[in-house]
Symmetry: C2
Subunit: 142 residues, 2 copies
DNA sequence: AGGCTCATTTAGAATTATTCCAAATATTGA
DNA sequence: TCAATATTTGGAATAATTCTAAATGAGCCT
């Protein structure tokens, strides 16, 4: 599924606003992210991207993901150890990591709203990850 | 500064409860963590530990930190990219990462309290990192 | 104390994740 | 189209962590 015209325009606009050029690789990496929103690692994005663009390189995937993050088109998510994951959901939300099946769920919650920070701290962005069990794993009580 | 008797007892008890043995290395790594609570990386812990225990190895530092985390004596904190950091503060708190001076501050806030999770999700632990500017950096408005 | 068992330590190798590099190529604006 | 500059590429390099196998150490049983 190629990105539709609207997504294409939006990507183009965000890239140039951010001082980046539009390239087929960036378009493709973005479309890969949008296709399956399961918080893939850079390596997983690379594998998926290669299916339609066999010559794309790992370095380019990192470059594209970086550009997307800087343009505000994707978030980089760091859940404990291991590789960083990428998420094109830019709504305010937090992540639920299931310690049992290791899936990542988007939860629509504004984590930082109303938190009484000590005087002087100027928050910019809140990263909330909740660890626990997802519905499937908690009923199975494995 | 060596850990006091109470800390020593507590460490011993938590280690054995967790199925770990008490070793001089683990005691020393724990005392290093307690001495300067600036969220050091494993490498920084290694450097500090070597001052009083020159033969300790990196692998042992990782092993000790791991054991401490598993015993509930320290938390592993993952702030974006780069090395994991370690924090012996086990009170419920979150972290404020200053994007300007890159220091990490403990903030005494219960991040997850009262968050309305969707049905079925069983939260176990909340990891909230707030990015922004610390008081010193926000007044300097660098 | 002596011996057994198993955890731990150690140094270094191996692995994983990411960044860097320099040359070739592509994109944009004039 | 041309020049300037960003991007892509493959591979090398780096960073962070884990693994491995041998030596050591601790606790337990007799």
């Amino acid at each position: 599924m190629a990105p539709n015209q609207q997504q294409f325009e939006y990507l183009n606009q965000r890239l140039s606003t951010g001082g980046f050029r539009f390239t087929p690789q960036r378009e493709h990496v973005y479309s890969v992210l949008l296709q399956k929103r399961d918080h893939p690692t850079a390596e997983e994005v690379f594998i998926r991207a290669k299916r339609e663009m066999p010559d794309i390189s790992m370095a380019t995937v990192y470059n594209c993901l970086d550009a997307l993050v800087q343009c505000g088109l994707a978030r980089q998510v760091t859940l404990e150890r291991g590789a960083a994951r990428f998420c094109p959901n830019m709504r305010e939300h937090c992540h639920f990591y299931c310690d049992s099946c290791e899936k990542v769920f988007d939860i629509d919650l504004a984590a930082g709203a109303g938190l009484p920070l000590p005087k002087g701290f100027q928050p910019d962005r809140f990263d909330l990850t909740i660890h626990g069990r997802c519905p499937a794993c908690s009923t199975g009580k494995k």
